[in-house]
């Protein structure tokens, strides 16, 4: 029972992450129709916004490290610490939440440049060409990040105050053994909030309808006086921001490295397709569904009956759903069915 509860919690937070990544992807892929293999790279760039901020905040003075005797070594003392003492330390401690603030403008800029500079020429090109060019872009971004930050994961911890775990079990009157990291709970809530905000934006304004229409028939929407290029740029920027935020928030969960995006890439495509192309609720639902199923499939009890199921559950479920429901969970007719 406790185990089930814990795996469920775990699935929720994993699902939140999938949902958030898939949300950004479904804006680009399900709405604009671009098979964006650079989506993972956007996630990665988001993470490295946090890393960079951390780097900037902990910019340090080099002090001769006397304890190293074999050769001349230097240790680094952050300027913030030198100047502001504990306040400076606290600032460094809060790197990740602070990074959210800088990530929004940065990712908006990245999305803008990427769409205007590259993606825009590819709306009419084939999926295959979109894959090639965005994959190329993803590699370039990755390699640049690697050249600058190195290949190893860079720890970017959450603020001290939320680094422990919450006694979730006690809240629900269950066993005290059920604990869950604060940051993961925050991640889940954050994902929820972002998803809600994006939905509100697209549902409560006509923006969503215009974009859908533009996706279905770009030319005609242009002919009725709508500057669809601009709308698409906005969508792309929005997607980049959502994905970047997902990346920032994920850094305390998983220390980012240059390759982190690729690891999410395939999975996020699966999530989007299982959810149904172009359906935002679908992407979110599929994200949670797959997250929870994967979490349960890793339970020892289940693995002992079906060995290896934890390895393939996501793909297996994807296959079954696509066969039973041709357009995924909540896909609309006519979107990317060619």
């Amino acid at each position: 029972m406790e185990a089930v509860f814990l795996q469920l919690l775990n699935g929720l937070d994993k699902g939140g992450a999938y949902a958030l990544i898939a949300l950004g992807l479904t804006l680009i892929f399900g709405t604009l129709g671009v098979v964006n293999f650079a989506h993972g790279a956007l996630f990665m760039l988001g993470s490295f916004c946090a890393v960079s901020l951390q780097k900037v905040l902990s910019m340090s003075m080099k002090v001769r490290d006397e304890s190293v005797t074999f050769f001349e070594a230097y240790k680094e003392v952050p300027y913030l610490e030198i100047w502001f003492g504990d306040a400076g330390k606290a600032l460094i401690d809060w790197t990740v939440p602070l990074a959210l603030l800088i990530t929004i403008p940065i990712m908006l800029g990245v999305g803008y440049v990427m769409e205007r500079g590259l993606i825009q020429r590819f709306y009419k090109r084939t999926h295959a060409e979109q894959i090639l060019v965005t994959f190329g872009l993803a590699i370039v971004l990755q390699e640049l990040v690697k050249a600058y930050f190195g290949a190893n994961p860079i720890p970017t911890p959450a603020p001290e105050i939320v680094s422990g775990s919450a006694h979730v079990g006690a809240w629900f009157g269950l066993s005290d053994a059920i604990v869950y990291p604060w940051w993961r709970l925050i991640y889940f809530l954050f994902a929820f909030a972002v998803v809600g905000a994006v939905f509100a934006f697209l549902q409560l304004t006509t923006f969503g309808m215009v974009v859908r229409a533009g996706m279905a028939d770009r030319e005609t929407v242009g002919l009725i006086g709508i500057d669809i290029d601009k709308k698409f740029t906005t969508v792309f920027g929005l997607a980049a921001v959502v994905t970047g935020l997902a990346g920032v928030m994920y850094t305390p969960v998983l220390p980012p490295d240059y390759h982190i995006g690729m690891e999410f890439l395939v999975l996020s495509f699966v999530v989007v397709v299982v959810g149904g192309m172009g359906s935002l609720p679908g992407a979110v639902a599929a994200g949670f569904l797959l997250g929870i199923l994967q979490s349960f499939a890793s339970m020892t009890e289940i693995k002992s009956i079906l060995p290896g199921i934890d390895q393939i559950i996501i793909y297996l479920v994807a296959v079954i759903i696509l066969l039973v429901r041709p357009r995924g969970l909540l896909g609309r007719e006519g979107v990317m069915e060619d």
């Binding site: 295959a128 060019v133 370039v140 060995p307």
Partner: protein
């Protein structure tokens, strides 16, 4: 199949078979890379039969590559070190898998098909890595051991077994020629297929499935045949990989490997006969040659420059070679697809057209 095609195949064959003689000029004249050219070329040519002809983009063809490798490996381990049975079994078994996977995946089209194939391949990969370890030896990969049963020729070999073709060893250049001949046959078959009425049907599928159905043609078996054929090419390529280097690892089934063949095909030119092969060569060449550059080599190259400029150049260039060769590849992908949609073949066509124009202009000028 007309005269022009026969000539194409002949020239292709001649170019491939003489490769060891001239590839050295660009630093590619060593067996391992040449073998790769042949194997991945074959893989891409087969992939093109599905993707190029029918427009169905499979993102899981690496699974067949892996299945071919494992099958061939088990043929070596259980039967004989002769490459022929290994190659035949691998082709057949991967064909069977392709039949099963294709049967299911082809119930959907477009991006849904891509995701289904991807899902199947990832399942194969993940299982090869974990629960199927007894068959695949997991991450370490399946290797030959001196204690393999090899019921047909265990008695005749001593020490560590190595692959052979009726007594001829298949490492080094022999291995290359073996792969090259299979590649040429594979290319010939793909040309015949392209020119056949079956090939025309595949192009029709790509163009308008609805019209096809209402013309009384059942698209599904056409697609399935194409899927199985290209799966068999992949299995064959996988078998050749272990013929020249008897180790079957799970990584070659990962989605990135499936993605690689997609990239090769697009880079060279989707739907063209030669393009996929050219794409394969370009990518493998970059992978092998550029990743081997290091600072020492760069310093040599830029040695003629004054020291401080040399330093700048070397550090800039080192971004793109050695461990940064991926960057070069990424830039190449982008440049090609932005400026040369249609891939390398499109590039050749444009160059040819330009020459022709110039020639015409010349002759026109001459007439005046």
């Amino acid at each position: 199949m007309n005269m022009k095609d026969n000539i194409l195949v002949l020239i292709f064959g001649a170019v491939i078979l003489t490769m060891p003689l001239w590839a050295g000029i660009v630093g590619a004249g060593y067996p391992d890379l040449l073998q790769k050219f042949a194997i991945f070329g074959l893989f891409a040519i087969g992939f093109n039969i599905l993707f190029g002809f029918t427009g169905y983009l499979s993102f899981g063809h690496a699974a067949f590559l892996g299945i071919g490798s494992y099958t061939a490996m088990w043929s070596f381990k259980l039967l004989t070190m002769n490459a022929i049975p290994a190659v035949l079994f691998a082709t057949a078994v991967s064909g069977l898998f392709a039949l099963a996977i294709g049967f299911v995946a082809l119930r959907r089209s477009g991006i849904y098909f891509s995701i289904l194939t991807l899902a199947f391949a990832q399942m194969c990969y993940n299982m090869a890595y974990s629960v199927l370890t007894p068959i695949t030896n997991g991450e370490t990969g399946l290797t030959l051991t001196a204690t393999d049963p090899r019921i047909l020729d265990a008695a005749t070999t001593e020490g560590l077994p190595s692959t052979e073709l009726f007594g001829m060893g298949l490492s080094g250049y022999n291995g290359f020629y073996f792969c090259a001949i299979i590649l040429i046959i594979g290319f010939y078959i793909s040309v015949r297929l392209y020119r056949s009425s079956f090939g025309l049907m595949l192009l029709a599928v790509k163009s308008n499935q609805n019209r096809m159905k209402y013309t009384g043609l059942n698209t599904k078996p056409y697609l399935l045949s194409a899927f199985v054929i290209s799966g068999m090419y992949a299995g064959l390529a996988g078998a050749l990989m272990v013929v020249i280097d008897p180790l079957a690892g799970a990584e070659r089934m990962q989605w990135t490997a499936s993605g690689e063949v997609v990239l090769m095909t697009i880079l060279g030119g989707v739907g063209t006969l030669l393009g996929p092969f050219i794409g394969a060569i370009v990518i493998k060449y970059f992978e092998n040659i550029f990743s081997a550059f290091n600072d020492a080599v760069l310093n040599q190259v830029f040695g003629f420059l004054p020291d401080f400029i040399q330093g700048i150049w070397v550090s800039f260039a080192s971004l793109f070679v050695g461990k940064g060769w991926h960057l070069t590849l990424g830039v190449l992908f982008m440049l090609i697809v932005i400026f040369l949609p249609g891939g390398a073949m499109e590039g050749f066509r444009r160059i040819a057209a330009k020459f022709k124009k110039e020639k015409e202009a010349h002759s026109a000028g001459g007439a005046e």
